[in-house]
Symmetry: C2
Subunit: 356 residues, 2 copies
DNA sequence: AGACGGTTTGCATTCGAATGCAAAAATGCT
DNA sequence: AGCATTTTTGCATTCGAATGCAAACCGTCT
């Protein structure tokens, strides 16, 4: 450390007479000067578990309070290589149907000392741009509840940014995932339909590129097979209420005789479907038409709908996603994990004995 | 390049032989070394409008691409004193009823080159903590669609952090605000009710501390006065569907004779109210009971409800909020501005001639 | 008193990009 | 070519906090 003494290095902590210019925020140097200690001491005061005496802590804290000093998270991030930022990638769909997911995730992140940097992603190109942004902001991790291609995921992996997928995953690549597997409940519901005498069912599915939709459809198909209920037609919607109404019309058009039961891949379309059945086709639900669906969003239980639906425990899932990202941020080399939650049937009142 | 040769200052750009250790991200120095230029040149390449020749830009960009270099926004923020982060404060309520607001705001911020740092705020204490967090992260501005006390606002002002309020403001303090003033539409709707022969109306309001609720209630009262419709009772809910159902029961209990019209301060309660009227009290809506409300959220127009409601143009409002924060970030000393949007009546089918 | 161990403290350096300034290069003009 | 002017480039420093290391301090025990 023998430093050439003649070197005229201007020391930050003395000659500069810039005490508290209005608008300038206090730095650790300001606090140090006021408290008559070194900047390191100030820094250590704000680091839990650092070696510091009670007396010193007190003095520093007093000065800090006086100057309203709060450590600069940006500067801290630069030196520690930890931004404490987590990118949360959501699509419009998620925020429309599960607004609470985002809310919950943010809350949980905050209580783990992390901040949510929110990104909206509709298309794969969006994802591209968003990933670059996130990278620029040195996010410590990513929670993805939106589109992301395998290439994009691999890029993040290569950059060693931990990713947790929410309700989607790559089956041919190791990844950390939280999702819901409602296969048991699907069996259960289909069994109920069969027991109620339903022999024909229509299926309303979601976008082709959506994994949740694909998986649910797969389970439904399997269960229909098991219980000998015939799928008379399958129509594609886009998860929206509107598309549910259109899908039912389409089913009506495609089939000579309307099936007695409709299975919708999400609640929102089921609600559209139900409204369409009642107000346009003049059918009574559940007397003339039984409807079941997936998600268990809040409004599916409003008195006008009371859907029989398979709920995802999104509260617990959000919580799990945060736990997992926190863990992976701390131990990036840890092996991957999938956390799979069961669904739960909400009985509702949208199914009944098939009309004869 | 004339570097004093005897000075043993370890130059970042040579002797360190750390080229692309796995996991280490490329810095501007790495790019500079590869391209054979100075770090400043690299920096300038990524700053639009900086003085740089085409040739140099090309060389640097090539090296940058090779190393997958992206400037570190954290380091940039430290030196420029601009984080490009905007704190977005939302409450659970907002995200439940207006999920698209958050989505829209985030999108708009992104297209202005800013990132949304999301904070959830339920109580005033939350706000306290959130403001400190935001301050630590050196946010350039705050969009507040949640609780915030005047003291908290003043703190932000003192710290020179621009704030834009979304659907709330302090009337006795200058501030920058975007909100909706539906007074015209309230008049219009009440006039319609009167014309349809309604003489008595019940009012379902929201939480006492909520400004939007207070304002709407004020307008309703005024209009009822103007058109000579009597307010037979006023019940408080909490904006939720559930509380709408309870509120209608309460009205039923409080009044000898049910009013012929109910005005709800938001759609969600109106939906609860309507469902309760139909499925519990056995009333037909709108034949026996007319219901009107505020907000114009998506599901208020589902076939089961088709509410006559007064819409807020939240898309435009979100956009405006972002425009305003961007402007205030660039010119903090500019005077304040309120942007007030009109509401719009969505006709719906939840009102009809009063039963005689 | 002296020696030893443990705890506090300060010094100096670091993170990565931006920028004022001066040197260097390119351009224009006579 | 020679000089003035403009543009490009590099150097050195800066932002604010964290931290390895050595120096200083404290208490204890012989």
């Amino acid at each position: 450390m023998a430093n050439s003494p003649q070197k005229k290095k201007p020391s930050k902590s003395d000659d500069k007479v810039v005490p508290l210019i209005k608008g300038r925020r206090a730095t650790s140097y300001d606090v140090a000067r006021l408290a008559g200690v070194s900047q390191s001491a100030v820094s250590r005061c704000f680091k839990p578990g650092a070696s510091i005496s009670g007396k010193m802590r007190e003095r520093v804290m007093k000065a800090a309070k006086e100057l309203e000093y709060q450590p600069n998270a940006i500067a801290r991030g630069l030196i520690t290589q930890r931004s404490n930022l987590v990118a949360v990638l959501v699509s419009g769909r998620l925020s429309l149907y599960y607004p609470e997911v985002l809310f919950k995730i943010t809350e949980e992140l905050a209580s783990a000392g992390l901040q949510a940097l929110l990104f909206t992603v509709e298309t794969e190109e969006d994802a591209e741009a968003v990933i670059e942004q996130a990278w620029q902001y040195q996010v410590d991790g990513v929670i993805s509840a939106s589109h992301m291609s395998q290439a994009q995921y691999k890029l993040l992996e290569k950059r060693q940014i931990p990713v947790v997928f929410f309700n989607r995953y790559f089956s041919d690549h190791p990844n950390t995932v939280v999702f819901c597997d409602p296969s048991e409940q699907v069996q259960d519901v289909v069994k109920q339909l069969q027991a109620l005498g339903h022999k024909h069912a229509g299926l309303i599915i979601g976008p082709e590129d959506n994994m949740v939709s694909r998986e649910r459809a797969r389970m439904v198909d399997a269960s229909l097979g098991v219980y000998g209920v015939e799928k008379v037609c399958e129509v594609r919607g886009d998860f929206s209420y509107e598309s549910g109404t259109l899908a039912l019309q389409e089913i009506n058009r495609q089939t000579r005789e309307m099936p007695t039961a409709i299975i919708c891949i999400n609640d929102m379309m089921a609600m559209g479907c139900m409204d369409e059945a009642r107000s346009v086709l003049g059918l009574e639900v559940p007397k003339d038409l039984s409807i079941v669906s997936f998600d268990g969003i809040g409004m599916s239980q409003f008195a006008s709908y009371e859907l029989t639906t398979i709920r995802q425990p999104i509260g617990r899932m959000s919580e799990a996603a945060v736990r997992m990202i926190v863990e992976r941020v701390d131990r990036p080399d840890q092996s991957h994990e999938k956390r799979v939650f069961e669904g739960a049937v909400i009985p509702g009142g949208s199914i009944a004995r098939a009309p004869s």
